[in-house]
């Protein structure tokens, strides 16, 4: 049990725990905050995998921008209180069982694989900005450009949907 494994386990437990907290929190604001914790742990994983660029982007974009946007919306709507008065426990139970069964099913299938495939930890330059940048702007220039269409439509969407008329 080396330090890497220890960190991995720590981060994983934290991630799963926060995720569970996220979905069980009564208050939306708490959920948002717990989700941010999840994102941070995932960034930790990225660093562990030496994917530094993604780790940063994850924190800036997700935790920083997107989640703040969520927070804004939640605050704006003043939803920081119990919003689900009626609960259908049976349906929830079925949901949890179904999700759990799915997880078990896939994991048990995956775990049947005997061969161990190791993951490169803490080293390797794939995740560095330089190699990513080279790859992105050389090979992935088309999707990069095309993504602009996505943003354009998102912009239009925000206008069309969000604008008061």
């Amino acid at each position: 049990m080396n330090i890497t494994t220890l960190v991995f386990i720590l981060l994983s437990v934290l991630a799963v725990g926060s995720a569970i907290m996220m979905i069980t929190s009564k208050s939306p604001v708490n959920s948002v905050l717990w989700l941010i914790v999840v994102f941070f742990t995932i960034s930790g994983h990225y660093i562990l995998l030496n994917a530094q660029f993604l780790a940063i982007v994850n924190i800036i974009v997700y935790a920083g921008a997107i989640m703040v946007l969520f927070l804004f919306v939640v605050m704006l709507m003043n939803l920081n209180k119990e919003t689900e008065p009626v609960k259908n426990y049976r349906l929830q139970l079925i949901g949890i069982v179904a999700g759990g069964a799915l997880l078990l099913l896939i994991i048990s299938a995956i775990m049947k694989i005997d061969a161990q495939q190791l993951v490169q930890m803490k080293v390797g330059d794939e995740g560095l900005i330089k190699s990513l940048g080279m790859n992105l702007f050389k090979n992935y220039v088309l999707p990069f450009e095309i993504s602009s269409v996505l943003f354009l439509s998102a912009i239009i969407g925000a206008v069309v949907i969000g604008k008061k008329d």
Binding site: L91, G95, A98, A101, L102, L105, I106, A109
Partner: protein, 627 residues
């Protein structure tokens, strides 16, 4: 003189022409015109038949090919007429008796209005046409055409007074029962076709083709043909239509249900004697059925009070006799009896018609009596008929019946004794009929009595002719025992094999004597019993049983008609609407129902949707990864 044979096709066509003229012009023709046309065509046919007969008598038989009816590679059915001894004999009977009855009808039906009168003659002509086809056909299919054709005409004529439901019921019954027989006949034909591929008489009866038929085939074919014959000739089990058929006008009963159509079965078997002779089992069955029918019908006849019903049962009984003859291989005797029976039975029917005419439609003999005083000709001719049928020596019935009895005796004494008993019953009921009707006191209403009169000439003329024929008709078949030369047997010999005579003359004398004495005794008994007939009370016991015709109709109703109807009703109500249509509609309902149920899946809630999707995923994963 062979030219006359070329004109043979005119014999059936003439009545057809008469049918068309009367049928299409029924609104234009006056009664006398249609009566004239109707009778004239038959007369012409008769004349032609006579000419043809003379040709055939000289030995000129022929098969006249008209056209190919159905011509396939594997089956050829020609529209042929066969002119030989057997068919010419029947031609004469049909056209001759037919003509007389047409003449009779002009007077008898005179009360009908013009259209119906023409319609009647049209039907009658059509009947003669069909009957002629039946006997002239050169193969079984043409025979079958006539066979069903006469059935149709019988239907039409029985139901002539169509407003009366009982009459149309009778017509329907006649047709349906005939159809049952016809099916048998048809199946026989199919059997023939499948075995030897032809139905042409000339080809079927060749030794080569007969050899192709196994004993089973022969028995089967002949039995099926016999089934056909029982339908047409009113034998057990298909005889009940004939008494009912008396619903038709009396001349029709005389022509169709006594003289001609009902003898078609005899003609068919006589025509196919080559086949039947090879099928002993069938012959046995025919014998039994014929005798049983004769006895059954005779027993019923003694208790009937409707003048025509008595005659009808008598006809059935006499037909039974003919079948007895056929069954015993005595084909000539059967044909002979057909001939004589045609004369005396037509005579008696026409006589009864005359009586009914005089009585203003009354048919119940209990309400008649003493008519001899008022209608001498009718009475006398009727008496001649009765004597003939009873088998008084010297009259036609004696010769033919005696021949049949002799043939039966040659087979077994038991047959003979039953047949003789039946003959005595015949004498009994005929004279019962005669005495009750013509002798004693009149028992009808005053009004009827006032109207009693002898029938017009057009009616009495045929009676007289037929009476004469009934007397002399037997002399063409005087048996050798009486020093005669059996002309008929000789004439028919090319077509119909004569029965082997192995009775000594002595035996024959004895039989004749015995039957004559017994018949005379019976007549005497009848005379004593019925000369001063009084209306009796209800019949009881055996009498009631006989009066109700052995309850055969009721039996059929319970055993055949009712089960059949309930099965059909079951089909209609349960199988059809519930099971089959129900399942078809059920599919529709199922679709509708599941549609209503399935839409609840669409609950409108995202959570539920996703849950269902996850469950779906779960299933797919499970199938893919673990199955």
């Amino acid at each position: 003189m062979n030219n006359i044979l070329k004109l043979v096709w005119l014999i059936p066509v003439l009545p057809l022409v008469g049918f068309l003229i009367n049928g299409l012009g029924r609104k234009l023709l006056s009664k006398s015109a249609s009566g004239f046309v109707g009778s004239a065509v038959i007369l012409l046919s008769f004349v032609l038949s006579l000419l043809v007969f003379l040709q055939v008598k000289n030995g000129n038989t022929a098969t006249i090919h008209l056209f190919n009816f159905i011509h396939l590679d594997s089956l050829n059915i020609a529209f042929d007429f066969k002119i030989d001894q057997l068919s010419t004999l029947f031609l004469l009977i049909i056209t001759g008796v037919g003509f007389l009855i047409h003449v009779y009808s002009t007077a008898y039906m005179h009360d009908e209005d013009g259209k119906d009168f023409a319609k009647y003659f049209a039907y009658l002509n059509l009947f003669v046409f069909s009957m002629l086809l039946l006997v002239m056909g050169g193969n079984y299919v043409i025979m079958f055409i006539g066979w069903e054709g006469v059935g149709l005409c019988s239907y039409l004529l029985i139901g002539y007074w169509f407003r009366n439901t009982d009459y149309t019921d009778a017509a329907k019954k006649a047709f349906v029962m005939n159809r049952i027989g016809d099916l048998g006949f048809l199946l026989a034909l199919f059997w023939l076709i499948s075995k030897i591929g032809t139905v042409q008489y000339d080809e079927v009866f060749t030794i080569a083709n007969l050899a192709k038929l196994s004993p089973t085939d022969l028995t089967g074919i002949t039995l099926l043909m016999f089934v056909g014959a029982t339908g047409k000739s009113a034998q057990i089990p298909l005889f009940t239509w004939l008494p009912d058929a008396m619903a038709g006008p009396t001349p029709v009963s005389a022509l169709i249900h006594a003289a001609t159509m009902v003898t078609a079965g005899i003609y068919m078997i006589a025509r196919s004697n080559a086949l039947f002779s090879l099928a002993p089992q069938t012959q046995t069955i025919i014998t039994i059925v014929g005798l049983a029918t004769a006895l059954l019908a005779a027993s019923i006849a003694i208790k009937q009070n409707d003048i025509k019903k008595v005659l009808a049962y008598s006809t059935v009984s006499q037909l039974g006799f003919m079948f007895l003859a056929l069954g015993t291989g005595n084909y000539v005797a059967a044909v002979f009896h057909v001939l004589t029976h045609a004369f005396f039975k037509a005579l008696m029917f026409l006589g009864s018609g005359s009586v009914i005419h005089a009585m203003g439609g009354e048919q119940d003999i209990r309400k008649m009596g003493g008519l001899h005083k008022h209608m001498k000709i009718t009475s006398i001719t009727f008496l001649i008929g009765c004597l003939a049928i009873a088998g008084i020596p010297g009259l036609s019935g004696f010769f033919s019946k005696d021949e049949i009895l002799a043939g039966a005796f040659g087979h077994s004494v038991l047959l003979y004794s039953i047949a003789l008993f039946t003959a005595l019953l015949t004498a009994f009921y005929m004279f019962r009929l005669y005495f009750i009707t013509f002798r004693g006191e009149f028992r009808g209403t005053l009004d009827q009595k006032h109207h009693l009169h002898e029938s017009p000439k057009a009616m009495t003329f045929p009676l007289i002719i037929l009476a004469i024929l009934s007397v002399i008709g037997g002399y063409i078949g005087v048996p050798e025992a009486l020093g005669g030369y059996h002309e008929l047997a000789a004439y028919l010999s090319p077509v119909v094999k004569s029965a082997e005579h192995h009775l000594t003359h002595g035996t024959e004398y004895m039989l004749m004597g015995l039957s004559t004495i017994l018949v005379l005794a019976t007549i005497l008994f009848a005379w004593i019993k019925f000369k001063n007939y009084k209306i009796e009370g209800e019949e009881k016991g055996l009498g009631k049983f006989l009066q109700n015709k052995w309850y055969v109709d009721e039996l059929y109703q319970t055993l055949v008609v009712n089960p059949f109807k309930s099965v059909s009703a079951f089909f209609n109500h349960t199988i059809e609407s519930k099971v089959i249509d129900g399942s078809v509609n059920g599919i529709g309902k199922l679709v509708n129902y599941s549609s209503r149920q399935l839409r609840w899946l669409q609950s409108g809630q995202v959570g539920a949707y996703v849950l269902l999707m996850v469950i779906g995923m779960l299933l797919l994963f499970f199938i893919q990864l673990f199955l």
